[in-house]
Amino acid sequence: MSIFVDENTKVVYQGLTGSQGKYYGLLNREYGTQVVAGTNPKKAGEDVEGIPIFATVGDAVAATGANASCVFIPAPGVKAAVMDAAEGGVKFIVVITEGVPAHDEAWFYNRLKRDYPDVQLLGPNCPGIISPGKCNIGITAGHIAKPGGPVGIVSRSGTLTYQALYELQQKGIGVTTCVGIGGDPVPGTTFIDCLSRFQDDPETEAIMMFGEIGGSAEEEAAEFIKANVTKPVVSYIAGVTAPPGKKMGHAGAIISGGKGTADAKMEALRDAGVSVGLNPTEAGELMAGIVAGL
């Protein structure tokens, strides 16, 4: 089984008429994702390579039965796009856009939680989600992921996620679902959301978790693993040598006030029984060892 999405997920692309939205929307369709609609208030009634365009997500849901959305709208419009999706009735919203103001993220995270508690937001600033062979929403290259299982992946970094997928594929190991939660300060989906789903998913037998410096999400995940996760977990944390006070590419990847260091995160994870690799390759090898013993 996969988490959050599967072969029945019908996706509306907000911003399908833009260059990024079109490029990835069509790639996702080619992969096999049910790309059923796009939105653009100024182009309602038109289509993009056969995919109908609607004014709002609500219109797209009514006409196509879409139950997920993928947002490729530029940062200034993301807040409105997320609310359009929630009001429109989709239950899973993936925001790929980077550069969304932190105050907007905090606002729509809490607004969804209060008024649309059954809606799951993924991102912003994330590569999306792929359930190999079933559904790919976002910017992950589909062919680097081997379908099946037994590994579930959750990661804060896009390229490290690809690296993990690729290394597992090279070793002949399949993936149930790979979730990129993104590197922003207020991610809609957390490590814990994914760990909890993977723990409950019978086809996921081991979990790979890639974190990075900044915040305390990895420490919270470690506590959750200790209390709730019985499946083996392998982890890698990027940024061991990052200097304090400097943003390492991602808005959320910053060590401030001595908090959020990679060492503290690795320590917490080891304490929770997680196997921690010192680089992505080592993490891949640790996972191969675990899968061989399953």
Binding site: L27, A75, P76, G99, V100, P101, A102, H103, A106, W107, Y109, N110, R111, R114, I139, T140, A141, H143, I144, S155, R156, S157, G158, T159, L160, T161, Y162, Q163, Y166, G183, P185, V186, F210, E212, I213, G215, S216, A217, E220, A238, G239, V240, T241, A242, P243, K246, K247, M248, G249, H250, A251, G252, A253, G257, G258, A262, L278, N279, P280, T281
Partner: protein, 383 residues
């Protein structure tokens, strides 16, 4: 982006938060003129984006024109933890009765705004948090609800500020929250927030960080961009729109994606080398971006070898190889380069790079081997 104290104060005053009268000065003469205009005593304050100004001699009280001139002369050009003082803030001195602390920031774990208020101000709040955590009253504000006056009043009461400061503090905190939200700030801190001997509450200092991602809503924030503390390399990279952080080692690093770039910095250290930088060229690896990245690294005199670490996802190996070959044709590189290319169509990309390989341009199949080679080359060059 961080603001200078005076910029933070002017930002606060736009929201009605009381501050002391003051003026910014770039020269000694401007400082003296400002002091004369404001009337003595004045405080001459170094404007730098780092803490510990007082200890470094960057904050001085002047009671007359001679002292104002003397302090301004001494402080301008002063080096405070690597930050050279180019601006002063000349401010009318205040009679301080009490010093408090107030701030708003985002609590990433709670996903809400965190307000902190303490009757113990003027010292590092991290210090108070350790020595006397109960002295900090905290509230978590849901961004959808905002901060109400009733909640703010309870908060002030919980912090046990002096009774005569209550009304002024409630007023300032409500305005501070407005400034924090409306101004898209990552941090709004007043330390100290003072009660004067005349019973007025005002901001004696201002520490403000605004969200780079929100500049589209605040075009005036562009003025803060140029004051950010960057070394020469960081400034050059910033101009080219590259995500670059300067470090002080000898192995230059180029990678695609923030996570992979961080991971590359780590692995170079793990195999005994010293990274010269963090540089993320983003998802693709086209020739323009690659050439720009190579130029920035090439201008770093400490760099003895360069490690290009690319994982091709949707951008295919042959496109990456093309980008690298084209970029190398455009930029004359001094240090030897080690490439690791993996991912989609990596073999095709490697084949294309093959004829270009030499002692100055090597290729390794894995991240680890490439890191070792780059580190060995850097060490060999420094001997």
């Amino acid at each position: 982006m961080d603001l200078f104290e005076y910029q933070g104060k002017l930002f606060f005053s736009r929201y009605g938060i009381p501050i002391s009268p003051g003026e910014v000065a770039f020269t000694v003469d401007e400082a003296v003129a400002a002091a004369e205009k404001l009337g003595y005593p004045v405080v001459v304050k170094a404007q730098v984006l780092t803490g510990g100004r007082g200890k470094a001699g960057g904050v001085k009280l002047a009671s007359n024109v001679d002292e104002a001139r003397e302090h301004a002369t001494n402080i301008l050009g002063l080096d405070i933890k690597g930050h050279v003082v180019h601006r002063l803030w000349i401010e009318k001195a205040s009679d301080i009765e009490k010093e408090y602390y107030a701030s708003f920031t985002l609590d990433r774990a709670a996903k809400k705004h965190l307000g902190m208020l303490s009757a113990q101000g003027g010292v590092e709040i991290e210090e108070v948090a350790v020595t006397d955590p109960d002295a900090i009253a905290k509230i978590w504000v849901d961004p959808v609800d905002g901060l109400t006056e009733a909640v703010c009043r309870e908060w002030v009461a919980a912090a046990k500020l002096d009774p005569e400061a209550t009304e002024g503090a409630v007023d300032i905190l409500l305005k501070l929250y407005e400034a924090y939200v409306d101004g898209d700030a990552d941090l709004c801190e007043i330390n100290p927030l003072i009660l004067t001997t005349e019973g007025q509450v005002k901001a004696l200092d201002a520490k403000v960080t605004v969200d780079d991602n929100a500049v589209f809503r605040h075009p005036d924030y562009e003025e803060y961009d140029e004051i950010q503390h960057r070394d020469e390399r960081e400034a050059a990279a910033h101009e080219k729109g590259l995500q670059y952080v300067g470090l002080d080692g000898s192995v230059g690093i180029i990678a695609n994606g923030a996570g992979l770039a961080m991971s590359t910095v780590d692995i170079v250290s793990q195999v005994g080398g010293t990274p010269a930088n963090f540089l993320d060229i983003g998802g693709g690896a086209n020739a323009d971006v690659m050439a720009g990245a190579l130029e920035v690294i090439n201008n770093d005199p400490k760099v003895q070898s360069i490690f290009i670490n690319i994982f091709g996802g949707i951008t295919k190996g042959e496109e990456v190889a093309n980008g690298i070959i084209t970029a190398l044709g455009r930029v004359q590189i001094d240090a030897p380069i080690v490439i690791r290319l993996d991912g989609t169509n990596a073999e095709l990309g490697r084949e294309m790079l093959q004829p270009h390989l030499s002692d100055a341009l090597q290729m390794q199949p894995t991240m680890l081997e490439a890191a070792r080679t780059a580190v060995a080359l850097a060490e060999g060059a420094s001997k």
